[in-house]
Symmetry: C2
Subunit: 346 residues, 2 copies
């Protein structure tokens, strides 16, 4: 006899406070919805932690909270985004992502049907990235004390021997490579939020980059100084951070930076700069000049790096400025924003 | 020149949406408040992930979300609780906790001063447990879209060679040991929430149990089948889960179960059963009968196991019932609750 045999009414039901209580209702939600979506032997064991074997070497750990609004958007939802984001933070260290954890904070009244869709997207994104969601937690708060659903994922991965990518490793003369067009995710969210319709729907670039990274590492080895995914704050924030941490500046060439025409048009309409807009399936790599050609070629040979481009170089600059030669022949400082441009973009 | 030189006004300031934007304000919050409180070389490197070396062997990973209300309570706050809870979930596998991640979801308008207190408690709890908070994330949502602060922590630890504790490993005849008095955490939260005053203040038992666990493993070795911390749902939920997962039942002796007189009185007043109330610094161990004496002695020799007790045994039962001989000479089924007794207790 199982004590929680009655099935969840996923079609019509909602999460209530009992689903966060540690009792039968929670066990039912976890086994009936999350285990089904994530299905793996770790969760089936039903422990508060999961074990795995490691070989001696270097590992990385990362975490991210997801509060994106709306929860569903063109190209994904908060679930797929949470998996992609955490996989990417691991991949940016050149590491192979292995295991994820997921913590759900759910507002009372959230529909099971939506939670199931989101969990299934997480499961699918995890399988696609060859990672396993091996442990999790579910909390429920009263109506009005959250906004539908927040997810925090953490992840671990293993770093290839001898690789040590880090924010302070850029050197003067290094090339700045990006893996594709900028601004797709942020503009997809904003269009959905503001109910804008464009001729061609703008779709989030949300994707797992670990495989692209593996090819780049194969091609560039230690010529790759560091990688970053330009999420919140966009490319501008990412390069300004690296400039500070590596104690140098950057010179970019605007005409080399790929932006989709629809995204550029939407940015004009919304008063946004594509360099400040979040991406969720793009990376910036700072690469030694002698390795840049091979790394760029490897990127372009990968479906997620088709539009990869060399957009500039690292320069000596005590002020850590990111400067850009504009398409009109002028120049400008690409500053990072001090305030908030796009709240809850991820 | 550092781009974020202006100091946070911690005394009077509040978190606003800009602190979740990925821009300068966020960098300032992270470096000025979190790095200061957690201070370690990993965070100082400023990457979106942190690396560490491992030796070959078995590791565990866990996660928990914290939504406790109120955020500050007798014996701790959401920060110390988040560290203790994650350390304990790792320790319940018999593992040594090593590294934690922390994801903060903050409501706009949350006071820096409170955030600093909470971060400092996390830092102190981490140092005390000899773990490092090596990576984190900060998101801010609009006023009214969260309830002050939610924290999700994840953690990894390393399992001693040859140890494999798991929920399905209890055997008929095993002893049920608990490390101390039940119900302290839940009653401390409820008294604070309902503004009850007792003659002696009831204080949460929130604490890291990894050191107690290490002593128990030393004393009991493979005689220890499994350990669990009876948090949400209390001892009742924990034993019912184990009964199902190990396909047996339990017989408990009420008079052997330690409950503080103040907690027992408060439970009567509030209509609660101490067996259903959450603990945050207690563990249940299911131990082979031949090892139980040595494990219990090791527990009692540790400050966090002073009141440890042998409270019953595992029995053959196809219905997976947890039964208890009451102090009055009767018997009752200790069921787990289907609904919610104490929302947001952790």
């Amino acid at each position: 006899m199982k004590a929680y045999q009655r099935k969840l009414d996923i079609r019509n039901g909602c999460v209530d406070l009992s689903h966060g209580s540690g009792g039968r209702a929670m066990a039912q939600l976890i086994s009936g919805l999350f285990h089904e979506a994530f299905g793996n032997e770790w969760l089936a064991r039903g422990n508060d932690q999961s074990a795995f074997d490691v070989r001696a070497g270097r590992m990385v750990m990362t975490t991210d909270g997801y509060v994106v609004s709306p929860l569903f958007f063109p190209g994904g939802n908060i679930g797929s985004l949470a998996v992609h984001g955490t996989v990417n933070d691991i991949a940016m260290a050149g590491a192979k992502p292995l295991y994820l954890s997921a913590s759900f904070i759910i507002e009372e009244g959230f529909r099971f049907a939506d939670l199931k869709l989101i969990a299934e997207s997480m499961g699918a994104a995890a399988r696609e990235a060859d990672v396993h969601i091996i442990t999790g937690d579910t909390k429920v708060v009263e109506r009005g004390k959250a906004d539908g659903l927040f997810i925090s994922t953490a992840g671990v991965g293993v770093v290839p021997d001898g690789l040590d990518l880090s924010a302070e490793k850029a050197r003067v003369g290094d090339r700045v490579l990006i893996s594709g067009t900028l601004g797709d995710h942020g503009v997809a969210i904003m269009s959905k939020r503001q109910n804008l319709a464009f001729e061609t729907e703008i779709v989030s670039d949300s994707a797992s980059l670990h495989d692209l990274v593996a090819r780049m590492v194969q091609a560039g080895g230690r010529g790759i100084r560091l990688m970053r995914d330009p999420t919140r704050g966009g490319l501008a924030a990412t390069l300004n951070e690296i400039a500070q941490q590596s104690n140098l500046g950057f010179h970019l060439l605007e005409e080399a930076i790929p932006v989709k025409p629809g995204v550029a048009a939407a940015c004009e309409l919304l008063g946004l700069d594509p360099l400040h807009v979040a991406n969720e399936g793009k990376l910036v790599a700072i690469v030694a000049p002698e390795a840049a050609g091979a790394v760029l070629a490897a990127m372009r040979a990968h479906p997620l790096g088709r539009d990869a481009a060399d957009i500039g170089e690292a320069v000596a600059d005590d002020h850590h400025f990111v400067q850009m030669a504009t398409s009109f022949g002028g120049g400008r400082i690409v500053d990072w924003l001090s305030g908030e441009q796009l709240p809850r973009i991820c």
